[in-house]
């Protein structure tokens, strides 16, 4: 038999529905198709005619795992169109909320979705039988992320307190103070997480990624910055669509993003870290050094360590923001009656990587056209390349083992298929 097809029908431990089809001809992976068959929900269509101020709450529903990212990219875009700037304490509160989402989402991925792959378990529940300490640490960390979201956002999933211009209600100092002790505990758990993750066994693989992330003059990027890449791209985010394009492939409901005239690129923790390591707080950098994390990590399996380093950052940043907090005079910057320009766009760093929003508005502030490019659609083509390499290195293994290896290669990137529509079904065809 020199023709072989491997199919994974449902990708487990990813958010959403997807599948993978690999066609092997004469011992080489000819076709690798990541199929996202999450039913389309047409957000860009249903936003048309709605008030621009509704975009944060509506687009949050694209993803239950990173709703804050959607709210942030939407707010920044609309604020640009209305010509307002959210600065000072309100900007700090946004960063704090985003830290909560990063902690929650990264802890979920590290302990509940990714760690079982390295330790040989099908899930965290079964992992908890043998390693209750690890799973409990993960749940405790995740809970602290959720505490930030709940206090500042009103609830964990689809927070209600975010609006264009700022918030509905700003917390009192005392309220924020209640987060201090949990965050201090989370901070030490995060350090343990770095050591735990660094101690896992990693297949010796190095990929040639073009990394793309935000870069800010002083901060590790969350809400703002220029868009940079490891191959020398450096542009304001308003030029995103000039440099990147989305293409549709027949086998997937998710659009795939490419560099124009280039190809696949990678967004997310590996990219942020490679392009912003110097913006990490000293403690996070020191920990990275201690566990032997090089300045640029090209092994996708080791993204689990980088996520842990980013939790260390998020805990420190949250504590720093709480330290200097004093309640703002008003919970938001007021919005003018009408937009000052017809277009607004923004990129923020979702846990899984850059999330682009663009809105074209009518003169009265209703949405004429919306464009949303989530991190997972940007990573799709690059994930397919990773899978191609995994197949090449394991071509003689039985289908079931090969399928398992492919799934793991996909989970490295924490794909969120609800965002990009969804995935996971592996079909390997050998010719």
């Amino acid at each position: 038999m020199n023709e072989r097809t491997i199919a994974v029908d449902y990708l487990a431990r990813v958010e959403g529905e997807g599948a993978l089809r690999v066609r092997i001809e004469h011992g080489t992976a000819k076709e690798v198709e990541l199929r996202i068959f999450e039913p389309p929900r047409f957000f860009e269509a249903l936003l048309r005619g709605r008030a621009a101020t509704e975009a944060p709450d509506i687009t949050a529903r694209i993803c239950g795992i990173c709703p804050v990212a959607y709210q942030m990219s939407a707010c920044h875009s609309i604020e640009q169109a209305y010509g307002i700037h959210v600065t000072g304490v309100l900007r700090d509160l946004r960063r704090l909320l985003y830290c909560g989402e990063w902690i929650e989402s990264h802890a979920l991925h590290i302990y509940l979705l990714h760690a079982p792959d390295f330790l040989g378990y099908p899930d965290a529940i079964r992992l908890a039988h043998d390693r209750p300490d690890a799973v409990q640490a993960g749940l405790a960390l995740k809970k602290v992320g959720n505490q930030i979201l709940t206090l500042l956002g009103g609830r964990e999933v689809h927070p209600i307190n975010v609006r264009v211009g700022g918030f509905y209600r700003a917390p009192s100092r005392d309220e924020l103070e209640t987060l201090r002790r949990p965050l201090e505990e989370a901070s030490s758990l995060a350090e343990r997480t770095v050591r735990f993750a660094a101690g896992l066994h990693f297949p010796p693989i190095e990929e040639e990624y073009e990394f793309v992330a935000l870069r800010h003059p002083e901060e590790y990027p969350l809400n703002e910055g220029e868009l940079v890449s490891s191959r020398g791209l450096r542009i304001p985010v308003t030029r995103f669509e000039e440099e990147f394009e989305e293409v549709q492939v027949p086998y997937s409901h998710a659009l795939q993003a490419h560099r124009r005239g280039g190809g696949a690129y990678l967004v997310g923790p590996l990219a942020r870290y490679a392009l912003n390591r110097d913006r990490l707080p000293p403690r996070a950098r020191k920990l990275a050094d201690e566990v032997g994390l090089e300045e640029v990590v090209r092994n996708p399996y080791r993204s689990i360590v980088v996520r842990a380093i980013e939790i260390v950052f998020a805990c420190e940043e949250a504590l720093r923001l709480i330290d200097r907090y004093s309640p703002p005079a008003a919970a938001r910057v007021p919005l003018p009656a009408t937009p000052s320009q017809t277009r607004g766009c923004a990129i923020t760093e979702a846990p899984r990587g850059i999330l682009y929003h663009r809105y074209d508005l009518e003169p009265d502030g209703r949405i004429r056209e919306a464009k949303i490019v989530p991190p997972t659609s940007q990573n799709q083509t690059r994930i397919e390349e990773d899978v191609r390499h995994v197949v090449a290195g394991a071509i003689d293994r039985p289908d079931a083992e090969l399928a398992d290896a492919c799934e793991k290669a996909i989970r490295n990137h924490d794909p969120c298929i609800s965002c990009a529509t969804h995935f996971l079904k592996l079909e390997v065809e050998r010719v």
């Binding site: 957000f43 529940i125 959720n146």
Partner: protein
Amino acid sequence: MPASPRPRLAVWKFASCDGCQLSLLDCEDELLAVAGEVEISNFVEASSAVAPGPYDLSLVEGSITTEHDRHRIQDVRAQSRHLITIGACATSGGIQALKNFAHLEDFQRAVYARPEYIESLATSTAIADHIKVDFELRGCPINKHQLLEVISAFLHGRRPNVPTDSVCIECKRRGTVCVVVAQGTPCLGPVTQAGCGAICPAYQRGCYGCFGPQDTPNTEAWTRKLRDLGLSPIDVQHVYRTFNAGAKPFRAAGDAAGVREGT
């Protein structure tokens, strides 16, 4: 694995954002205890070990938007002794039900260059429109404490204690000053089912109806009030047409707001 005497739980996803099934993983303090009480037999988002049915309890997230899913939900029902739908997508069609008020082709063209690759029905509908559902848990997203209550009720063979009265009751219980009365803020609290804990008014914001219509909503009277508070007809229509746009009383109220689609 040896046969387990514990009830077998399955979690299913249709068109949705994953936020409601995430609520189960967000039960950080209770998750391992729940996993001790039930055998989590099929929960793809959390585990790659999938055991075949039948299942004692199925939690279904998401709405029906494709021909494939229309058949799949029948299969899920056939394998499930009890079936509970969780969240606004599953109980009313979700935000994606806004396409029910539009033309599918127009929606497809707005997003995709090649709409012919896309498989989609013209509507997004609640699970109960397709199969018998044993209990519907509301919310966008659901409240995780209510989810635990519902799971526990089914495991013990009793009706879940999930109130169907309005958000106003929760505001009163919480001691929140009414945002409509005190600030003239438009709010859907009087016509919306309780369950969230009346979070929005506590953050000085009007309720936006993410738990869907309460038991006996007087939307006609409330529409007049919303107009008095300064909302235009189309604004009122949009207020009803969000995450539970497909729920009957909200659908009717949105239609009655008297504005044609596209204006």
